[in-house]
């Protein structure tokens, strides 16, 4: 069977691509239009090597400005006191920990894509894993800001480290905050290693293509002498596999540990055994939404539609649908358990979630954004319509932030003693610190796409038909198997 006849030589339009994918049991190519190795290298490395487009400078100026102001807010808060935020008694945590959980959650998609999908041999991951991992790192950086600065005495935060000292005082290993410190720092370390390991072959490509000496030197340093030798590849792939294996449990553990901050406490709505899976699902949910939020514009701006295809978007939308449904189930289960427990404090807390002062956070954030909006992805048309996907992703981004806010502030502001009930109202410092972390996140991402290949060139090349030594056309392979 000659596969060549089924794939036209001319450039395929998106319509035709859909048409071909509708054929039963054919495998749609991961890179469209039979792009060559050279085309991929040019397109991806080109984004780094060409002069920065004007939009990049504008975008970077804006995000860096926001990041700068966010850093000013951090400095102001540290120098003046936590009182510059809107916290009070009884709401001791609000936007700070909400933002922490929000960013940590976003940081989950990267490792899921790079580690779990790698182990599961999901080859479509190759076009998105690099930027998803970068996003993970930047999100974890943003997340790590908050536990660091939310404490009253930042300059004493090293007490959380288990350092031997002459008082013989150790951190309290029963405290989930302590577990957080270990979980997040482990996760960040492993994520950096994983990301960097994956970068090495591409860094070597950039080194080889570099035109200036400085670039050649710097890329050369980080490429650690990669020459593409057989031995290099063998070690590389083994290291990558091991790191994937190490990272996989972390995907589940980090957000489980984060959820312990709440689950091990005694507050109604916090003290819940459902939290670890609920939080992990929510993290993947929010993380994929953020990956798409970043990738959809990048894909259009750098004309990467052949590498990040509608098929990729479709698959990510399915994951969003799945995790969104898990999250919705968890929400429903929380209400059921509150009722079933017969505990008046629990029951009240959940009524208060729906009808209390923060009612619209629940109706808009949790119900509409998190539960209802992903349901659009039951429809193929929606999964493949970039605008619909973008809309849903923005809903999920906002909804997941609201969810964490509802859990944290909703649990704190009306707990056991009605005499102590209160409200949380954010100050400008709260708001700008959060917006500032978006500035940091986007600035780092813009720097990343300027200086590093945003798509793993070497890995994408591996999924090309040419990489198959038998040179089977992917579609013909599928048909042959069917036959």
């Amino acid at each position: 069977m000659d596969g060549a006849t089924t794939v036209p030589e001319v450039e395929v339009t998106e319509r035709e691509e859909i048409a071909s994918s509708e054929r039963p049991l054919t495998r749609v190519p991961l890179v469209l239009n039979r792009r060559s190795y050279g085309w991929i290298t040019e397109r991806i490395a080109g984004a780094v090597e060409n002069r920065a487009p004007r939009w990049w400078w504008v975008a970077f100026a804006v995000t860096a400005g926001i990041a700068g102001f966010g850093l000013f807010c951090l400095g102001y808060q540290i120098s003046t006191g936590v009182g510059t935020w809107g916290l009070n008694h009884p709401v001791g945590w609000a936007w700070d920990i909400t933002n922490f959980v929000f960013w940590i959650g976003i940081g989950h998609a990267g490792t899921l894509i790079s580690a779990i999908l790698y182990l599961l041999r999901q080859k479509w991951r190759t076009s998105i894993n690099r930027s998803a991992e970068a996003m993970t790192l930047f999100a974890v950086i943003c997340a790590a800001i908050f536990p660091g600065i939310h404490v009253g005495r930042v300059w004493m935060a090293w007490y959380l480290a288990p350092l031997p000292n002459n008082y013989g005082i150790w951190p309290n290993f029963r405290s989930p905050l302590m577990w957080d410190v270990f979980a997040v720092s482990t996760y960040f370390t492993v994520s950096v290693l994983f990301w960097y390991t994956g970068l090495i072959p591409d860094l070597a490509t950039l080194r080889d293509r570099a035109t200036s000496k400085i670039k050649k030197f710097l890329y050369g340093i980080f490429a650690v002498g990669w020459r593409g030798a057989n031995r290099h590849w063998r070690h590389y792939e083994m290291a990558y596999l091991l790191l994937a294996g190490i990272s996989t449990p972390l995907v589940l553990s980090v957000h489980s540990v984060v959820s312990f901050d709440f689950a091990t406490s005694i507050l109604p709505t916090w003290h819940t055994t459902i939290f670890p899976p609920y939080f992990v699902a929510g993290a993947i949910f929010g993380g994929f939404a953020m990956v798409l939020t970043l990738m959809l514009p990048a894909r259009a701006l750098f004309k990467l539609q052949d590498i990040i295809t509608l098929q990729h978007i479709d698959k990510m939308a399915k994951i969003i649908l799945l995790t969104g449904s898990i999250v919705s189930y968890a929400y429903a289960m929380e209400f059921f358990m509150a009722w079933y427990s017969g505990n008046q404090y629990e029951r009240f807390a959940f009524w208060n979630r729906v009808l209390g002062p923060y009612w619209w956070y629940w109706w808009v954030g949790m119900l509409f954004c998190n539960c209802l909006s992903p349901q659009l992805f039951w429809f193929r048309w929606c999964r493949r319509n970039v605008l619909v996907v973008y809309f849903v992703c923005m809903c999920v981004n906002a909804g997941m932030w609201f969810e964490r806010f509802i859990i944290i502030v909703g649990g704190l502001h009306r707990d056991f003693l009605p005499s102590s009930w209160g409200l949380f109202i954010p100050t400008w410092v709260d708001i700008w610190t959060f917006i500032g972390t978006h500035g940091i996140f986007l600035s780092l991402f813009l720097l990343f796409i300027r200086f590093l290949p945003m798509i793993a060139m070497s890995e994408v090349k591996i999924v090309l038909p040419e990489s198959d030594v038998h040179r089977h056309d992917p579609i013909s392979v599928g048909e042959k198997e069917h036959a």
Partner: protein, 814 residues
Amino acid sequence: MNRLYVVENRYTLTGAMADHRLRLPVSQIPLIAHAIATRVATATKDAGLGSVLATLQVPAGAAQFDEQWLNEAANDLVSKSGASLVLAGPQQPVVVQLLAYGINSALKNVGSTVLLRELRRNPRDNSILQLAGDIAADRIKQLFILGANPVFNAPRSIAYDSVGKGWLDWPELQKKVPDVVRLGYYEDETSALCRWNLPASHFLESWGDALSSEGHYLSIQPMILPLFGGFSELDLMSAVMGKPKVDGPELVQETFQASKPVGDPATAWSKFLHDGFASHIVLRDRPPAFNGNTAGGIAHNLWSAPPPAPTPESPEIVLVRDYSIDDGRYINNAWLQEMPDPITKLTWDNAALISPRYAKTLGVETGDLIQITVNDVIPTAPPPVEGKPTPTPRELEIAVLISPGHADNSITIPLGYGRDSLTSVGERSGFNGYLLRTASNPHYLVADGKAIASITVKKVGKKYPLSITQDHFSIEGRGLVREATLEHYREDNEFVKKIAGDDELPEKLPSLYRHPPLLSSQQWGMTIDLNTCTGCSACVIACQAENNVPVVGKLQVAHGRAMHWLRIDRYYASEHGYDQDKGELPEDPEMVHEPMMCQHCENAPCETVCPVNATIHSEDGLNIMAYNRCVGTRYCANNCPFKVRRFNYFDYNQRPVGKKKIAGALNLYKEYFAPFTEKGAPDTIKLSKNPNVTVRMRGVMEKCTFCVQRIEEAKIAAHVQAGTSSADIRIPRDSFTTACAQACPNEAIIFGDIRDPESKVSKMKLQERNYRLLQYLNVNTRVSYLARIRNPNPKMPDARKIGIASPNEKEEKL
């Protein structure tokens, strides 16, 4: 058990303790006194009371009261003849005082529950009105003002100036006196209009003497040498009499010796100082006597038929002393300013208290400003003048605070606030109720057509920020305050244990964590008897003083950052549930108080979550804080079910926190510019700190320690006395206590060793009324509460609304 009936217009602490409470506009109280007196007179057939009543006419259209309430209350009184007591508030007119006395006399209470004692009064005491008249007539050349602040609080329109033909307020009068000498603590309204100001020494820095309200002769001894020099009143009076200034107690000794103490003068003086009062001066009570005819004559002359009940269009204004700053004299005391009002929980301000229903009529909410205008009747006296001057209407713009349990169409304004001239703590706080006050209507104003033509209240349309520490009024059926009627308690001694959730608990709940054993021979615990706690808040201030608890200022209180380690929760229990989220408030609820501080849980949820081990358990059962280990994650406060942990959001002790704006009209508060403002506190503030207690910095958590410094002090004293540091040395039983327990006037708070079965606290904990909060959480608190018992009269129409703070047994099984 006694039974207390209270008739009042606003909730007071007495009203909160009452078994039956009737809310009624103040202007109607003479009528209800008359109504009760009539019933008592009929029942007792007392001639004296009868003859007083015979002289008093009740107008035909007067307000009607709940007949059953009155009859049953009067029957109850009569049935307790000789063991009952009727008290009239000090602001009530003389006729009401006479009626109260007449009732007591008719009930044979005089001599048993009422003692009559004649107190020595200076026969040359004069009213400020007479002084004002003398000044207006230019008869005063030199005026000494000792401590008082008449420019601020003298009645309005106090004198008539026949030359200028107008009514004068005190400031204009004072300006007419050529030479005014003022002895005072502060620069204030009065000092600004004085030629001479003398700094007064505080009573804690000077010698003095006084008469108590019971007539005892008391000594006043200095606790400290004067910090800033200054004169006491005695010093000044003695100087006026031309005597040299003395530093010691000579002047007081002179007076004391003049009272002819028995025995050796030096010993008698020492005893006087030691006892604090002169025991040799015998107080003689007068025999009971009530002359109905004389009283009737007086009453008849003074009785003016009470005005008709106030209406929404023409409300009454009631001027009362403030619970924290009294008549305004303590306005510069930041502790008192920040002390939540025991009833309203308002800090740093006063407000016009009104009932929820009246608020609805006016269309206002808490924090809305209203304008009160009082128009006087054009006066005819003093001497007729041509072209009678119209007095200017008295006006006041004041914020509203809706207070459940307040009488309708009545507005209560605590006095002493609204002092623009102060530059210290009291600056810009509250509204000046004295602006409405005249000598003829010192306590309440009502449009009676005699002195006051009309009172109008209208909404201004602006808001005023009020800092209130407790926003939620309902106890939500949570069994936090448990109470029962005496009847219910007698039927079921164990009622405190029958609260939803608690009654299903096993004897011993398991714990996930292993705890260090509580090995110490003494284990500290506390009980709080809700039956005797009146909510007076003395403990709040005692705790603040003892433990260097910082003052945070009005803005920070509004942000919910008050630092009090001990607060008093106040709930309104209502027969029918109410949802504040929907704007529902109870009109006539019962009020309960509950002091709340760290409960020193044995399974403390705060301890397990602290990542740095800054809050841990001591061997003697205290939940302790290591301030210098705390990094301030606030996790402990979040996980505290009682929300008693307090976080230093700013450097309250190092940087001036307050209402000061540093950039004109902009709302910029100094604490928000910490790096650029001066560090440190004035010496006087530093002197107020307890040297045995750490002053905390910003970013650390703090909370009640059970006055650990007192425990340690007592422990050290015990060790010193025993001459050994052995751990077996026990502090003598009940030999010391915490600051709150020490300050409590009713011994509602008992602290001590719960391992010692003979200690007071152990005995309290054995009472049937003893219960612990949130026991279902297995926190095992060391503080326990004793349930409240109310004693309603079952025949009263409101009996079913009494003693209802505990969750309803039907509701609890939801």
